[in-house]
């Protein structure tokens, strides 16, 4: 019996009259990689922000290892440290060198000493192959390098799950590969991940389950094989077709 890391239970969210999430439910198990995809505006980013309570939902519940994040008693700040988040625009701390971007969390939030935090950060940088770049400021790094630092910043917190919000869609095409490679590596190490992405090659390689969202609801779920061979819903077929036209078919795996 595998343990549930995240449970999303009937989550609703509206901005004024705009219903963005309309009853989303799913579970994420230890070591699982979930890929969420769907048209722009379908509510994917909102869903990720709800999961770590950067945006509290109007209705429904999110549980982290059985503990509700909605519980008024819960220390949200503490719980959030268990949920990593990788942003589309990296959002690195502009005044901190790469290594300090990664070590500040372990130091301030996990209470490690400066030296311990530095060691943790260095190991995380090694994982994303950025250990030679620790002493550069974000502005001195390429987009792909910045995103890898963003991933290292999450890894260093040793979270229960990492949420990725379109981590490669702000990158120039030639920089996407290095970031996906790092994500593949950590997925294979057994990191629990929820990834919003349209990189179907990545999904095919490591997704345990794919979730197709449209207009704030989950339209269809299934394995990558299911989606690539015989998706059921009209909307999924349509959307996958559009992606194929855009990116080409996801025939070749990008494993090294």
């Amino acid at each position: 019996m595998m343990t549930k890391v995240i449970e999303v239970k009937d989550v609703w969210k509206a901005y004024d009259t705009l219903e963005v999430l309309k009853g989303i439910s799913f579970d994420v198990f230890e070591g699982e990689v979930k890929v969420v995809f769907g048209p722009s505006g379908s509510g994917k980013s909102t869903l990720l922000r709800v999961i770590n309570m950067l945006t509290p939902p109007d209705k429904g519940e999110v549980l982290l290892r059985g503990q509700s994040l909605m519980d008024p008693q819960a220390d949200l700040t503490k719980l959030r440290a268990h949920i990593g988040f990788v942003f589309q625009n990296f959002n690195l701390f502009a005044h901190l060198k790469a290594i300090d971007n990664v070590s500040i969390g372990p130091h301030l939030v996990l209470g490690k000493t400066k030296e311990e935090a530095h060691d943790i950060a260095f190991k995380a940088l090694e994982k994303v192959r950025m250990n030679d770049w620790g002493h550069h400021y974000p502005a001195q790094l390429s987009g792909g390098q910045q995103q890898r630092i963003g991933i290292a910043r999450s890894l260093a917190m040793n979270p229960d799950v990492i949420l990725f919000d379109e981590p490669t869609s702000a990158l120039d095409p030639e920089l996407i590969g290095e970031v996906l490679q790092v994500m593949l590596d950590i997925a294979k190490e057994g990191t629990t991940m929820i990834v919003v992405t349209h990189e179907l090659g990545f999904a095919r390689a490591v997704a345990d389950e794919m979730i197709f969202m449209d207009h704030g609801v989950i339209v269809e779920t299934g394995t990558p094989q299911h989606f690539f061979q015989n998706p059921k819903s009209e909307r999924a077929i349509d959307f996958l077709h559009k992606l194929e036209v855009l990116y080409g078919q996801a025939e070749t795996d990008i494993e090294s």
């Binding site: 700040t77 719980l79 959030r80 440290a81 268990h82 959002n91 690195l92 502009a94 005044h95 917190m157």
Partner: protein, 247 residues
């Protein structure tokens, strides 16, 4: 009395008599610098607090900070100084308090009385309102994404302000803040109105005594120009030292 040749002009300005009142100007300058530094740093602390209050505070704190900032910026410094230095008299308080400091040669001669103290405080209270706006501007320019990122790794609001927002916004504020640091020495001259013996007061006395007012005031103008150039230079050095790429 129209000057016809450079020699006559020099004769009229009587530049050789400058040595007579130079020591007085020097003493005035130390008072001016004292007022300036006191007000600059009081204003710095107050400005940061007000900016945080206005930018991060709840509705009440933010309104109070805003009201303070707008009122201080919307009224003349002279009115503020006249009002505050009149307070002890108006309230019948004891005004005999004073301390005597040594000058750089060890002679006890710099007196700080209640008026000088209140004047310095008012300059700081006034400067704080202006400094707050420079800091608030730079706080507003920090990207919201970094706030989300700080939250997502579990930082508290306080940690985010202290470790993410302030280090960036304070650095970013330096060029604009330098304006205030350069305006302030000029505005310390308002102390003259309440009888504080600053550089300008010393100049006015010297002008009256020597009947060389054009020379004296021109000399004071030059002193301020040099002072302000030096302050800008120092601040740009500091900025270049703490500057970080991309901020």
């Amino acid at each position: 009395m129209r000057p016809t040749s450079p020699n006559q002009l020099i004769g009229m300005l009587q530049i050789n008599r400058i040595v007579e009142y130079l020591p007085d100007l020097w003493n005035g300058l130390s008072m001016t610098m004292g007022l300036y530094l006191f007000a600059l740093f009081l204003g710095l602390g107050l400005g940061i607090v007000l900016a945080i209050g206005r930018h991060y505070g709840g509705p009440i704190v933010s309104r109070i900070s805003t009201a303070y900032i707008e009122f201080m910026r919307g009224t003349p410094l002279l009115a503020q100084i006249l009002a505050i230095t009149t307070l002890p008299l108006a309230l019948n308080l004891d005004t005999s308090w004073r301390i005597i400091l040594q000058d750089i040669f060890g002679t006890p001669r710099i007196t700080v009385d209640i008026t000088i103290l209140l004047c310095a405080i008012t300059l700081g209270l006034n400067s704080g309102a202006y400094q707050a706006e420079y800091f608030r501007g730079s706080m507003a320019s920090i990207s919201g994404g970094q706030t989300l990122a700080a939250k997502s790794i579990g930082m508290t609001k306080r940690q985010e302000i202290r470790h993410i927002a302030l280090p960036q916004s304070l650095r970013r504020a330096i060029p604009a803040w330098s304006n205030e640091a350069v305006y302030l020495p000029k505005y310390t001259t308002v102390a003259y109105f309440v009888g504080v013996p600053d550089l300008f007061s010393a100049a006015k006395l010297a002008a009256g005594r020597t009947f060389q007012s054009l020379t004296v005031y021109s000399l004071v103008a030059v002193i301020f120009l040099v002072l302000i150039t030096a302050i800008s230079w120092i601040l740009s050095r500091i900025y270049n030292r703490v500057k970080i790429p991309g901020i």
